[in-house]
Amino acid sequence: MATAKIGEDLQPLADIDRTIHEPARLMILALLYVVESGDFTFLMRQTGLTWGNLSSHMSKLEAAGYIEVEKEFVDKKPRTMPRLTDEGRAAFQEYVQSMKQVFDDLTA
């Protein structure tokens, strides 16, 4: 009985979006949440991630539909600028709210 009650209490933690709930991806999404878009070099500088690490996490976020990569030409050279999708923005907001709620409930 006690185990079932604990399970229910901890269920919100189990429901956390695992795509977002990884430190590197959380950093990337937090950054893209506060700016309109930023290229790989910008994200790398701000997060401190290595290029390979960043690329790997970006692929996962793109696969989840949370970011889209905007390709544009600047001085006839291609440039990629990742940005949050509407889905990604909503998912991040939901993640922040649910984390706040989870810890409020745990510490109540």
Binding site: V34, V35, S37, G38, D39, F42, M44
Partner: protein
């Protein structure tokens, strides 16, 4: 977690990273040095139109240096970022303030050059300049979140009244360059120091091709 994540602070930090290369400091300092040359050239019997042409050329050179620095040095190291609507709105306000200020400055420079008026006899524009410089840089510091621009407001405010006071007391137009040289020199030195530190802290990432793509 040892520190809270503040999204507003995160955006502000990303924004401030744009100003850590020292290019703005060098540019603004160089502009001030250029302005200081303005009173000196006529004293060397340089024709007025030549004086204006030289000042304009130096200002354009300063801008070109700033632009080239951002494009070829800063952006490959820091990357490219587009900020959100709130920051863009603040930028618009800053640009408007700077444009009006520049316009007023140019008008005053042209009047000075064309009329060759004894400014000491008409001290009001000097104080207008000082107040304007302080207000413009203060607003710039506020909207751009760059606190050292408050100090630059003082550095920009001082040279004109001090230069005119030197002219009034010594009668030597060449001495008018002194306060501009000191103020502008301080800003350029700060800019160079920031620039050197920036180059050291942010080498071009090995993975970056010239266009910054992955």
């Amino acid at each position: 977690m040892s520190t809270k994540i503040n999204l507003k602070e995160l955006e502000r930090k990303a924004w401030r990273s744009v100003f850590q290369d020292g290019l703005w400091d060098m540019y603004l300092g160089f502009l001030l040095l250029t302005m200081g040359i303005g009173p000196v050239l006529p004293a060397l019997d340089t024709p007025i139109m030549w004086t204006l042409a030289i000042l304009l050329m130096l200002s354009v050179l300063a801008w070109l240096g700033f632009w080239a620095g951002k494009k070829f040095i800063t952006t490959p190291r820091m990357g490219l970022v587009k900020f959100g609507p709130q920051r863009k709105a603040k930028l618009k306000k800053t640009r408007a303030v700077l444009f009006l200020s520049a316009l007023l400055g140019v008008i005053m420079l042209v009047l000075r050059a064309l009329w060759n008026v004894e400014w000491a006899a008409i001290p009001i524009p000097a104080y207008v300049w000082a107040v304007q410089a302080f207000v413009v840089f203060g607003l710039g510091a506020y909207f751009l979140d760059v606190s050292r621009f408050y100090a630059y407001g003082i550095l920009y405010a001082i040279p004109v009244p001090v230069g005119l006071a030197l002219l009034q007391n010594t009668g030597l137009p060449g001495l008018m360059f002194l306060p501009f040289g000191v103020s502008g020199g301080v800003m350029v030195i700060i800019g160079v120091a920031l620039f050197i530190r920036f180059l050291h802290d942010y080498p071009v990432p090995a993975e970056v091709v010239s266009d910054g793509n992955r």
